[in-house]
């Protein structure tokens, strides 16, 4: 048997052991964040987006890109939107 064939056999044994061992070991592996109720996912997205929009709005205002009047109006509506999203998330049993 050549060295190439021996090395190939060793490699394949190592690969099979490394890939399949988690299935035989069972637990002890962690993936992803704690799961929340399915309905919370879109609300969490909406919350992130609204917070982001608020941050952008404040940044745009600080940099003089929007008027005081537009800023006040938009901030009021965004704040109300965020409050209602947070309330809805709590209602659905998620972590606000």
């Amino acid at each position: 048997m050549s060295i190439g064939i021996i090395a190939s056999l060793i490699l394949s044994l190592l690969v099979v052991w490394y890939v399949l061992s988690p299935i035989f070991e069972g637990g002890g592996f962690n993936f992803g964040a704690a799961e929340q109720p399915a309905t919370v996912g879109p609300l969490r997205d909406a919350k992130e987006r609204a917070l982001r929009a608020l941050k952008d709005l404040e940044m745009d205002f600080a940099m003089g890109k929007i008027s005081q009047e537009d800023f006040t109006n938009s901030k009021g509506s965004m704040t109300a939107e965020i409050a209602s999203i947070l309330a809805e998330i709590k209602k659905q049993g998620g972590e606000a």
């Binding site: 992803g32 997205d45 608020l54 952008d56 537009d70 965020i82």
Partner: protein
């Protein structure tokens, strides 16, 4: 070692099949068990390891001159320097496919290493789609273009054919791998997108995760394209860097769509709009990378870059069909989740400008694609292959690029949601007036062509908007830092807090610099052919050239004729440099190449090509190009890539903690 390489390739293929099928099985189950996900994750990592081993085995065959292997015999010989023996791994179809497989798998492995923090519902499908890409390319490599095939020869070959002389260049070590890293990196966003569609995990997570991976692929692709341009500039001897060659275009097409995605993804992240559009862009980008590979390897187009005509083109077409049909099917299945959550409120908003920018980028993409495919279509319809050249691409694309430059100035400065006209006037008055002054000054200076004047003015407009953004950003946070606007501490704080935003400005600045350089080198180029005998002189632009002598040289694998030309300034007659252009004849390959003599300068490049020696053997025929501001094109590209790196690298852990604290504060609103 060859047996081992072949085995490693087979093992990678088997692992790919396992991860594709296993990922789909686990992903479609009710609950993805962590132990199964871990097995898939390890499988994905091992695909890269086994393909890496296969690549090492092939490299070993090249370095040890193992001419029993057909591919090694075909693309190397004993006289080649060792560095070209390594680069010869990807000098032909078979090895380049193996490299491609390895790089796709490497990206998949990098994703797998990070995957423990990704949403659990997404990862099984993510592994499946990532490995589907690896599986396709590994299948081609294993069954159709296997680089480990033995040479069918009754006697042992003492030497190989050698690498194409054009590829015996140091750029061969970096340009193809960089380009392939760009292409293969763009498989990651595709896999995320498909995994999100297949798993139904349509939250912002996949978009957030995809953005960084797209940037990584985009940065590599940018570097690869520019390196290719620089190589062409130095090696091909026609004085330019971009010829709208079909294979150059093939690399440019996914760059355009990836650039479009990097802008539109911000709109989805913030507004929940353009969801289906982003799916379209991600899939199109990946499809165009596969299409580019098809163009290069099918032989349907003529190009200096194309590999020899082969019969594997159909496999790419089948795979392309699977990608497109799969994406359409999954998008229809998830059409409810892909509905936009709101609409654009005002035309004067950043989201509207980003949408326009996307349309312009896609228009350029379509125009380039049309130009690439026109010879194929014309031959199919009329039976005669009609080609479109540089004038077509320039005529169509120059106005579109200028529109893009304008939008690039407007986009980052305009507010999200809506801007009022007085605010816009306040923001853009100074950049607009400065650009107008520049245009008038240029006309008075004698530059009267419309497009160059417009290009310079728009570039200046762009630079002014960037400076305006920096100024406003610094001024807005003076309250926080208690420092003066342009103080180093204020600048550092702004950079730390807004690294991604200002990193994007760095990229834009690089583009503007490149725009100026491209315009100057296209519009004000000097080009002249001449013949000189030793001792004779010629004046071109602000230089004079004197041919000192020419002679023949014999090197290990080629013969050369070298001319020695003294470059002088016309004003003071002082010698600036001795230029040595060469004509090389590679004995083994029986091919002639030109080696350009280049004197790079901040103001202009002097680019000298030796065309030949006349019949009497007493005079040298040469061609000279004076390319203004050419070097700034490369500086601009370096700045672009640097900007890409700045934006792509993750924020320091401390900054992320601070960010989450900001979010907590926002909760109290």
């Amino acid at each position: 070692m060859i047996q081992f390489g072949q085995f490693a390739l087979c093992l990678a293929w088997l692992l790919s099949v396992g991860v594709v099928v296993g990922g789909a099985f686990v992903g479609s189950g009710a609950r993805a068990l962590p132990s199964r996900l871990e097995a898939l994750r390890r499988g994905t990592i091992l695909i890269a390891v086994t393909l890496g081993l296969a690549l090492v085995a092939l490299g070993y065959a090249f370095v040890t001159n193992d001419y029993t292997v057909q591919y090694v015999w075909q693309y190397s010989n004993r006289d080649m320097p060792w560095i070209y023996k390594i680069t010869a791994i990807w000098g032909g179809m078979d090895g380049s496919m193996l490299l491609w497989c390895f790089l796709v798998a490497l990206f998949a492995a990098c994703v797998a290493l990070r995957s423990v923090v990704y949403p659990r519902g997404l990862v099984a499908w993510l592994f499946s789609f990532l490995s589907s890409s690896t599986l396709f390319f590994t299948s081609i490599t294993l069954f159709l273009t296997n680089p480990f095939r033995y040479l069918k020869s009754p006697v042992a070959m003492p030497d190989g054919n050698g690498l194409n002389p054009l590829l015996q260049n140091e750029y061969m070590a970096i340009h193809p791998p960089m380009l392939y890293l760009g292409f293969t990196g763009l498989a990651v966003p595709y896999a995320f997108c498909m995994a999100a569609l297949a798993s139904g995990q349509m939250s912002n997570d996949w978009i957030r995760l995809t953005r960084r991976w797209t940037l990584i692929g985009w940065t590599f692709l940018t570097a690869g394209i520019v390196l290719g341009g620089h190589w062409a500039y130095l090696e091909l001897g026609w004085g330019g860097f971009w010829a709208w060659d079909p294979v150059e275009n093939a690399s440019f097409l996914p760059w355009l769509t990836a650039t479009a995605f990097l802008h539109s993804v911000m709109v989805q992240e913030r507004k929940g709009m353009l969801k289906i559009w982003n799916v379209f862009l991600v899939v199109l980008t990946y499809a165009l990378t596969v299409f580019g590979t098809f163009l290069t390897r099918s032989g349907i187009v003529q190009s200096v870059h194309a590999f020899a005509s082969t019969d594997i083109g159909w496999t790419f077409l089948v795979y392309l069909s699977v990608i497109i049909i799969g994406a359409i099917g999954l998008s229809l299945y998830r059409r409810v989740e892909l509905r936009p959550e709101r609409t654009i409120e005002s035309f004067f908003s950043r989201e509207a400008v980003f949408l326009l920018n996307n349309l312009v980028l896609l228009s350029i993409c379509f125009a380039v694609l049309w130009g690439v495919m026109f010879p194929v279509f014309s031959e199919a319809v009329t039976g005669v292959k009609q080609t479109v050249g540089i004038p077509f691409f320039n005529t169509v694309n120059v106005p579109l690029f200028l529109a893009l430059i304008f939008l690039m100035g407007v986009g980052p400065s305009i507010a999200w949601k809506r801007s009022s006209v007085p605010q816009l006037m306040r923001l853009f008055a100074l950049p607009f007036i400065s650009a107008f002054v520049v245009a008038v000054a240029l006309v008075f200076a004698g530059i009267v062509e419309f497009y160059p004047v417009l290009a310079y003015a728009l570039s200046f407009f762009g630079v002014m908007t960037i400076l305006g953004e920096v100024q406003r950003g610094l001024a807005s946070q003076r309250g926080l830092t208690q420092a003066s606007t342009w103080s180093p501490s204020n600048v550092a704080t702004l950079w730390r807090r807004q690294r991604i935003k200002y990193g994007a400005h760095v990229i834009h600045f690089g583009v503007l610099l490149m725009t100026v350089a491209i315009t100057a080198s296209m519009a004000h180029k000097t080009e002249r052919e001449f013949t000189l005998a030793p001792g004779e002189r010629l004046s071109v632009g602000r230089f004079s050239l004197e041919l000192n002598e020419f002679h023949e040289e014999r090197q290990a694998n080629y013969d050369a004729i070298q001319a020695h030309v003294t470059l002088r300034s016309l004003t003071d007659e002082k010698p600036i440099a001795v230029l040595v252009p060469e004509l090389r004849f590679y004995r083994k390959n029986k091919e002639t190449t030109t080696e350009v003599a280049l004197r790079m300068g901040q103001r202009e490049d002097v680019y000298l090509v030796l065309a030949g020696i006349d019949e009497t053997g007493t005079k040298a025929s040469m061609k000279i190009f004076i390319n203004p501001f050419q070097v700034w094109l490369w500086y601009g590209a370096i700045i672009m890539v640097l900007g890409g790196v700045i934006v792509a690298i993750p924020a320091p852990r401390g900054a992320r903690v601070r960010d989450s604290q900001t979010t907590k504060v926002a909760h109290s609103v």
